[in-house]
């Protein structure tokens, strides 16, 4: 277990009708750590992430933030504590340009109007601060590459001072070079003291950036916060496929 957990999810269960998506799952995220969350399709990774980001509510179990119990009824509740999610489908609006996406629902301006010029300036600043290179912030995001789109989603989380960033398959649609860019960005965020949950299918990706690994198998946690140095790709593969080490 990490010494200084920022998030502890304890005994989380969630069902969708007759389907048990999660059963008594535990998950811990250390401060300033990158925690890998792995498992086969349908293992419950995305469901767990959605619970942590307030999109779904658990049937049972509790979430501790800095040791204190919290209840997230909506993504806004989670965001208030600095938890930002970057979903598999990116949660970007393809037709909106870069700065409109970054400030979506939290636009700079008054109650009615938006201040486009301030939004443009702030977007340029945040992209520069984390070394993201996007040709034009006026561009609709559908015309950006997968890596650039991912960067926009990360920049959005960063701008709103996310302390915990949840990344659901951020490299699933990316090539090798673009994936590397995202890993560099993750390490950069870690250096700045941010904590990251990294959900992926790709074990090589996990081992290149994470500090600890939690494995889900058919909705249960079969390995919790294993330090990366004390395990191997083969062990994790077995846990994913069979739920045990052998």
């Amino acid at each position: 277990m990490p010494d200084n957990p920022i998030i502890q999810m304890i005994g989380i269960s969630k069902s969708f009708g007759p389907v048990r998506a999660l059963e008594n799952v535990n998950f811990t995220l250390g401060r300033g750590e990158i925690a890998g969350l792995v498992g086969d399709n349908g293992a419950g990774k995305s469901t767990l992430l959605k619970i942590l980001s307030g999109v779904l509510q658990p049937d049972k179990g509790e979430i501790l933030y800095n040791g204190k119990k919290v209840v997230f009824k909506s993504p806004q509740d989670a965001r208030k504590l600095g938890i930002e999610a970057i979903y598999q489908d990116l949660a970007l609006c393809d037709d909106l340009n870069v700065y409109r996406n970054i400030f979506l629902s939290r636009e700079i301006g008054g109650r009615i109007f938006i201040d486009k010029s301030a939004m443009r300036n702030e977007t340029l600043k945040i992209l520069r601060s984390i070394n993201i290179n996007i040709p034009s912030i006026e561009q609709q995001v559908k015309y950006l590459s997968g890596g650039q789109r991912q960067s926009v989603a990360i920049a959005r989380a960063m701008y709103f001072n996310a302390q915990i960033i949840l990344m659901d398959e951020p490299t699933a649609a990316l090539g090798v070079t673009e994936s590397k860019e995202v890993f560099n960005l993750m390490l950069e965020l870690k250096k700045k003291g941010r904590s990251i949950v990294f959900v992926t299918h790709n074990l090589r990706h996990i081992f290149s950036v994470v500090d600890r690994i939690t494995v889900l198998y058919k909705g249960r946690s079969v390995a919790e916060s294993l330090p990366k140095e004390k395990t191997s790709i083969e062990d994790i593969e077995n846990l994913i496929a069979k739920g045990t080490l052998t």
Partner: protein
């Protein structure tokens, strides 16, 4: 302004098409460019644009409203029935008629956002229902009001210049500001572009769409009332086909039927283009019957051109 910045104007394609078409009609019949005809064209554009522009905002947020033509007949009919049947003051009757139009929009919004009926189907249903209300209310007969000089100013002519053009200029500006510079505009684009993403980001998508349904209905009703003010009468069948011409004006102007993107100025030019076709074909002697075929062709061509221009610009 250099060539590149002109190319970057989103509405450049439709603007060029409109100018070319105007030149074509003028070449065949110089009367097309006469002051009297320009005034006529402006009125036609205003009557279409005032319905098409709120429709554009609704389309951008990812929904249709096929009931606008019926509401365009319903609101002025309500005014006539209230004035003639109940002796209510015409201005109060007008306010009540606009509230009725807003209620029609609310019904559409309820069907789509709460009962989850696809808007194409929901508003197809209400299109028939609202039209039936008009026919029952008027017994299928045209209604008239006594001419009132001040009420006439609402949508009538001053020195042959239609006051509807002033309304069009005002509300084009208002809707342009809404779409480009307000949170509601941003959320409308987001709702039409990716409902899931907009919801996850905390936008109340149903509220955004409901506002746009209500705006669409109120402006359809308001435009119908402008017609009543001008003509002092209303036909229960008026506005038939307005749903499609207003959608066509928006699409020609660059609004995506999938939602998420579009232009208010483009929709204004789209309304002008459609009005020019309707007016120009008659002036050159081609007759009204070819109008629909022409509009169909223009919708298809404009959509292809818009897509090519947007893609070309994006990959440039």
């Amino acid at each position: 302004m250099n060539a590149k910045s002109i190319w970057n104007i989103r509405e450049i394609g439709i603007l060029i098409a409109t100018i070319v078409l105007g030149a074509f009609f003028t070449a065949l019949n110089p009367l097309f460019f006469s002051l009297a005809n320009i005034f006529t064209l402006l009125r036609m554009t205003a009557m279409l644009g005032l319905v098409a522009i709120p429709m554009a905002l609704l389309l951008i947020s990812g929904e249709f409203d096929l009931s606008v033509g019926s509401i365009y007949a319903l609101a002025p009919s309500v005014v006539c029935v209230l004035v003639n049947g109940f002796g209510i003051n015409i201005w109060l009757a007008t306010v009540i008629a606009l509230v009725v139009a807003a209620a029609c929009g609310l019904i559409n919004a309820f069907l789509v956002t709460k009962l989850h009926i696809v808007s194409f189907i929901a508003t197809l249903g209400t299109m028939y229902i609202f039209r039936s209300v008009v026919l029952q209310m008027t017994n299928g007969m045209p209604q008239a009001i006594t001419s009132d000089p001040i009420y006439y100013l609402l949508g009538g002519d001053v020195q042959n210049f239609s006051t509807t053009v002033v309304w069009l200029a005002l509300f084009t500006t208002v809707f342009w500001i809404i779409l480009e510079n307000t949170k509601h505009g941003n959320w409308s684009m987001a709702a039409g572009s990716n409902v899931q993403a907009a919801t996850i980001m905390g936008i109340n998508v149903n509220r955004v769409k409901a506002i746009n349904f209500i705006l669409s209905a109120v402006f359809a009703g308001f435009t119908g009332i402008l017609g009543l003010s001008w003509m002092s009468s209303v036909s229960p069948s008026q506005g038939g086909g307005l749903e499609f011409s207003s959608i066509a004006a928006a699409v020609i102007g660059g609004v995506s039927l999938k939602g998420g993107t579009g232009s208010i100025v483009g929709t204004l030019i789209g309304s002008l283009l459609l009005s020019m076709i309707q007016n120009g074909l008659i002036l050159i002697g081609a007759g009204f019957y070819v109008y629909q075929g022409f509009v169909g062709a223009i919708v298809i061509i404009a959509t292809i051109l818009n897509l090519r221009i947007i893609r070309g610009r994006a990959y440039a």
